[in-house]
Amino acid sequence: MASENGTLIHLRDVHKVYYRDRIEVPVLQGINLDVHEGEFLALMGPSGSGKSTLLNLIAGIDAPTKGEVRVAGESLGTLKPSRLAAWRARHIGFIFQLYNLIPVLTAYQNVELPLLLTRLSSRERKKRVLFALGLVGLEGRAKHFPRQLSGGEEQRVAIARAIVADPTLLVADEPTGDLDAKNAAEILTLLKRLNEELKKTVLMVTHDPHAAERAHLIYHLDKGVLQS
């Protein structure tokens, strides 16, 4: 998936501009970034600095105004929406600040969602879902609905959903932002384990310096400009 020199994420001169009431608001300005396979990178910065926007561009759910975003060997700007959706399903595992679980589906069904986009048999899907839930320590909660879980448990289900299809890259947007200190520490430990034991590349947006400390690399964004 990565290039010959092991680069998984390759951004060159990436700009992103939003328009509010016809007023141009530059969010990202000339971002250049290379992330290698197996790295754990933290993106920090104040609110409105463009962290989440950068994460969204890398995850293929937003497009740059200018510049090249190449992830897992694909230049995302060249992909049609349907191929981009399939690319996300194959390569990206999402972890959101507010977990984004589907409330009417059980933990098991939430984790199974990404596998429904694969050709796996239901037996193979079951095996993988139970493995992922076991990895986050929630095998006993498979039949619970999100409302029956604590915030920490919900985020662990979300992590199980993110890893179940064995994606190339995990993107986490403020994964501990809605958790107390104890649960936040558990989630960060889990992410660290996924990075070290399963060799997952992790890209985490956070404004919490303690969370960022778990990463190999910390980048700062300030007014749309990346500073290492």
Binding site: I61, A86, R88, I92, N100, L105, Q109
Partner: protein, 387 residues
């Protein structure tokens, strides 16, 4: 693979109030739709079943109904002597000449109704094997006695066994009640044709009905009779004759019913539209999440459409269940072909229920399309930002 159906089913169950209200709205429209079909179907079925494919009916050329027909006595005698007519066990032709008049009587609720009073012969019942007496006995020729159809007895005043009814200034005893198995004859009053002719001051018959000895002989019989310039008659298969009588009113009933249904359906579609827009609005973040995970926009569109169709089908099911109690209920209407009252039973068939369900599903698909398209077109990043 698509978004699991459990997602849609549980969402419907999670929004109980809006689900039930929308389903009821669609169910009501579906009920009207099936009700209309059952009404028209019951009417048509009653008339279609009245005729037999093995019988032929002879009426005056140019007439579309017995009421406007005349068949002279000598012509009737000539028709009944044709060689294609089947024979009764006693060797006589299996044919009958009948007189039909409309008589204004009071329904049990006091409102007036035009009732068919038919003068018949002893062969009339033999030609209609569906008819059998359920109470009393057959009238005796030459006496002021009549028998009444089961539905006429149920709806017309003074038609119970033993009652006396006034027709053409005379009192007639009701001596029997016959069951014609839901056909138009069930709404009629029968008496002796030879007695009726002077009483009703009618010197001619209205029709001759006969049983063919071979169905294939119909063509030859028709050709000969219709070519005879002395008679000026037309020969028809009895079942086709009655079916044609039902066509105009059945089409009108269906047309009116469908118009009312379509107007109501517009309301129901807007109900589904509203419900689905609310569903899409409240699940924007879920839509964003599903899109981010890699589900295609087509999957999202299909999923919400399925949800809308499921909701509408639930309504269709409710409508179908609500229609079942009307099945078999007797009502009556004026038959435009004969200007007479015809009683018939609502007939709810499995195909009508299926049509109602399909109609409901189509309403759901129409009402759900635009909200589903809106869901599928959400910008992922904006959808994920929704609270």
């Amino acid at each position: 693979m698509a978004i699991p159906l459990a997602y849609n089913l549980r969402n419907l169950s999670a929004r109980k109030v809006s689900t039930v209200l929308t389903a009821l709205g669609i169910g009501l429209v579906s009920w009207v739709f099936i009700f209309t079909l059952a009404l028209a179907g019951g009417f048509q079925s009653a008339l279609q079943a009245t005729g037999s494919p093995t019988n032929a009916i002879v009426i005056r050329n140019g007439s579309t109904a017995e009421l406007t027909s005349i068949v002279a006595r000598d012509a009737a005698a000539s028709i009944e002597s044709q060689p294609e007519i089947a024979r009764a066990p006693d060797g006589t032709p299996l044919a009958t000449h009948e007189l039909v008049v409309l008589w204004n009587l009071k329904r049990k609720n006091g409102t007036p109704a035009n009732v068919v009073v038919r003068g018949v012969t002893a062969k009339s019942v033999a030609l209609r094997p569906k008819i059998h007496l359920v109470e009393g006995r057959m009238f005796r020729p030459g006496l002021e006695e009549v028998v009444v159809g089961k539905l006429a007895q149920a709806r017309i005043a003074h038609c119970a066994l033993g009652d006396r009814i006034k027709l053409a200034g005379r009192q007639w005893s009701i001596v029997g009640v016959f069951d014609a198995q839901g056909t138009a004859f069930d709404s009629e009053i029968w008496g002796d044709v030879e007695l009726f002719m002077p009483v009703f001051d009618r010197p001619v018959y209205q029709s001759v009905t006969l049983r063919l000895d071979e169905p294939s002989h119909f063509g030859a019989l028709r050709k000969r009779l219709e070519a005879d310039p002395r008679m000026s008659v037309q020969v028809k298969h009895e079942d086709e004759f009655y079916a044609a009588q039902s066509a105009t009113l059945a089409a009108l009933l269906r047309g009116l019913g469908l118009f009312v249904t379509l107007v109501m359906a517009l309301g129901a579609i807007f109900g589904a539209l509203n419900t689905m827009y609310a569903a899409v609005g409240s699940r924007t973040k879920e839509i964003g999440t599903l899109l981010a995970l890699g589900f295609s926009r087509g999957s999202i569109l299909t999923s919400f459409l399925i949800e809308s169709v499921l909701l509408a089908t639930l309504g269709g099911l409710l409508g179908s269940l609500m229609t079942l109690p009307v099945n078999g209920i007797t009502t009556s209407t004026m038959n435009f072909a004969s200007f007479s009252e015809i009683a018939f039973r609502f007939q709810v068939t499995p195909s009508m229920l299926l049509s109602g369900m399909i109609f409901a599903a189509v309403m759901g698909a129409l009402g759900g399309f635009f909200p589903s398209r809106k869901a599928a077109r959400r910008v992922i990043v904006e959808a994920l930002r929704e609270a």
